[in-house]
């Protein structure tokens, strides 16, 4: 576990550095939401997912559907760090003629679904999971969701479906950073008690600190959490995590760091914590 944690910590740091450089260069938004999932992605790609970067469509691979498609910068960064394509691609993020759009899009090696409209991913994940069951394949399906998309009715259609069909190869991860597009989750449309809602729907639920690598490794590493039903891991996170002036700030859902802000942010991050 110790060596795992060291590698994962470093991967998370690299994701954050890439996210900041990418959003700065592209003038792109969604830095905050990309930073909030950096640790979850680092644990998934650094330790949990059974994938082959050289064979992205390997039939028995674990699937990760990133339903919160606006966190594309972080996803593209971790895929490059994991060897799915050259890191030079990241320099082209959102630029004319790039392969990397501002939302997670199929066609990029390692991407399982085109997302950007919220509330689609869990249903797609259910389809993949039941496909595995019916074909007697052993891969797992992870769906990384935002808290905001728990507002979508379609999320709860899929939440009903998973337990009914005993999809214990399905793991939903909610990036619960408590801030959505126009305000805090509490102000816009309160989700609490969120864990109780997923439990009531029949999911096996575990709440973790979404920036604590040990906790993430423990929960995601042993997922599925229970036999006979899907798992939901609620990751309590901080929007903008890792850059002091971005943390908990709604504005960093939209703003792109300027040169000075990038310099400051990288200074904070270059020091391994």
């Amino acid at each position: 576990m110790a060596s795992d944690t060291t590698a994962v910590v470093e991967l998370a740091r690299k994701i954050r550095v890439d996210v900041l450089r990418m959003t700065h260069k592209a003038g792109a938004s969604h830095a905050g939401t990309s930073l909030s999932i950096a640790d979850v992605l680092a644990v998934l790609y650094g330790s949990v997912l059974r994938i082959q970067a050289t064979e992205p469509e390997w039939p028995d691979r674990d699937r990760l559907v990133v339903s919160k498609g606006h966190s594309a910068a972080a996803v593209y960064a971790v895929l490059a760090q994991s060897g799915f394509y050259p890191r030079t691609w990241l320099d082209t993020f959102c630029q004319d003629g790039s392969r990397l759009a501002g939302h997670v899009t199929r066609g990029v090696p390692g991407v399982e679904a085109s997302t950007g409209s919220l509330g689609h991913g869990l249903a797609i994940g259910c389809g993949m999971a039941i496909g595995a069951k019916r074909s007697r394949r052993r891969y797992r399906v992870f769906v990384l969701m935002s808290d905001g998309e728990c507002d979508e009715g379609s999320t709860w259609e899929a939440a009903l479906f998973g337990p009914h069909h005993k999809l214990d190869n399905l793991v939903a991860i909610v990036d619960y950073n408590k801030i959505q597009s126009l305000g805090s989750v509490k102000e816009v449309l309160d989700l609490e008690p969120l864990a109780e809602k997923w439990r009531a729907f029949g999911w096996s639920v575990q709440e973790v600190d979404g920036h604590d690598h040990e906790q993430l490794l423990e929960a995601l590493g042993r997922a599925p959490l229970a036999k006979g039903r899907p798992s939901c891991i609620i990751a309590h996170t901080v929007k903008g995590k890792g850059v002091s002036f971005m943390e908990h700030q709604l504005a960093w859902h939209y703003k792109s760091p300027d040169a000075e802000q990038l310099r400051e942010a990288l200074q904070e991050l270059e020091v391994p914590r």
Binding site: D96, S114, H120, G127, F161
Partner: protein, 331 residues
């Protein structure tokens, strides 16, 4: 038509173990035989059409050919964005089947009338749209779309539609089926309007009018060649569909004719040519990819004008004016 559909689908599923049927808690007395015969490949997802479409997309990504089945607008409009993003963009092998096309659910009221579905499905890049004219075409269409890659929409009537084709006609996705030819007027029909159209044609023939009937089960990809040929041979084309006149069969025919000859002037439609832009870049960059910058617009206009004015150009000719009337059935 729904019986013809399920019976054909059972045959398809028996021969191809990739074929799944997903229903949105509808299909009473229709889908049960499939469910009994192929329990591992049947799934009732409940009253949840967004989930229906999303699950179908996910399942198709694992190598399955997935039919989704519901009634009216439920499997199309209710989950339109899932169809666009999750199915069409990924070219997923999902075949959407709606029972109750047009006003088949008559007295159940407006909520159950599928009268804009052809237009909306047709506007989605990659989506094939088929509205069979009778149970025979339904059976042929079911087999045909199961064998095609990518997404499809099969728009059925309900039950008890008369059989128009007493023997199976040649059926190819994207091809018209010509039932008869005539010089005065040709009906082009899609979906269950075929039977009344055939009856109307008989009435007109008794009056000595030369009438042709074309069944156009495939609204997309569209058989433009057949329409051009009819326009050359026949004075009047009448499109018939149980659907809004905007965006469906009538629009598809208009688009062909307007581009060919138009209102004496011709028409060139610039825009996004039925595709998704997976190229990445700014609006200006993407407009350039689509030929929509000011410079490109001017260039295209000049090119089109030059083509039209070149000797031997077949564009811009007016519809052939017919003299007199009477029966002029063609060979």
């Amino acid at each position: 038509m729904r019986k013809a559909f399920i019976s054909a689908l059972r045959e398809v599923a028996a021969a191809d173990d990739r074929v799944f049927l997903l229903v949105g808690d509808l299909g009473y007395t229709v889908v049960e035989p499939f469910a009994q015969e192929f329990p591992d490949r049947f799934l009732n997802v409940g009253v949840a059409e967004q989930n229906l479409a999303g699950i179908a997309a996910g399942l198709a990504s694992t190598g399955k050919v997935v039919f989704t089945y519901s009634i009216g607008n439920f499997p199309t409009l209710r989950c339109l964005e899932q169809i666009r993003n999750d199915i069409c963009y990924d070219r997923a092998a999902v075949k959407i089947v709606a029972v109750g096309g047009g006003m088949a659910y008559g007295s159940l009221g407006m909520t159950h009338h599928a009268t804009e579905d052809l237009a909306i499905m047709r506007a989605l890049p990659g989506m094939e749209v088929i509205a069979p004219g009778d149970p025979t075409e339904t059976s042929l269409a079911t087999r045909a779309i199961a064998a095609r890659p990518g997404p499809g929409y099969l728009r059925l009537g309900k039950a008890g539609e008369p059989v128009v084709h007493t023997k199976p006609p040649p059926f190819t996705v994207g091809k018209a089926i010509t039932l008869s030819r005539g010089c005065d007027v040709t009906f082009v029909s899609t979906g269950g309007m075929l039977a009344p159209v055939v009856q109307a044609a008989e009435q007109l023939r008794r009056k000595g009018i030369g009438v042709g009937v074309i069944s156009m089960p495939t609204v997309k990809p569209f058989d433009s060649d057949s329409i051009r040929a009819v326009a050359e041979q026949c004075e009047l084309i009448i499109t018939v569909e149980e659907h809004n006149v905007i965006g469906g069969l009538g629009s598809a025919v208009s688009e062909v004719l307007a581009a060919e000859r138009g209102m004496g002037g011709g028409l060139k439609r610039l825009g996004i040519q039925d595709r998704f832009y997976d190229e990445i870049g700014s609006q200006e960059y993407l407009r350039a990819q689509a030929g929509l910058t000011a410079v490109q617009l001017a260039e295209t206009a000049e090119t089109c004008l030059a083509e039209r004015r070149s000797p031997g150009a077949r564009v811009g000719k007016p519809l052939r004016k017919r003299q007199g009337s009477g029966t002029r059935e063609q060979a």
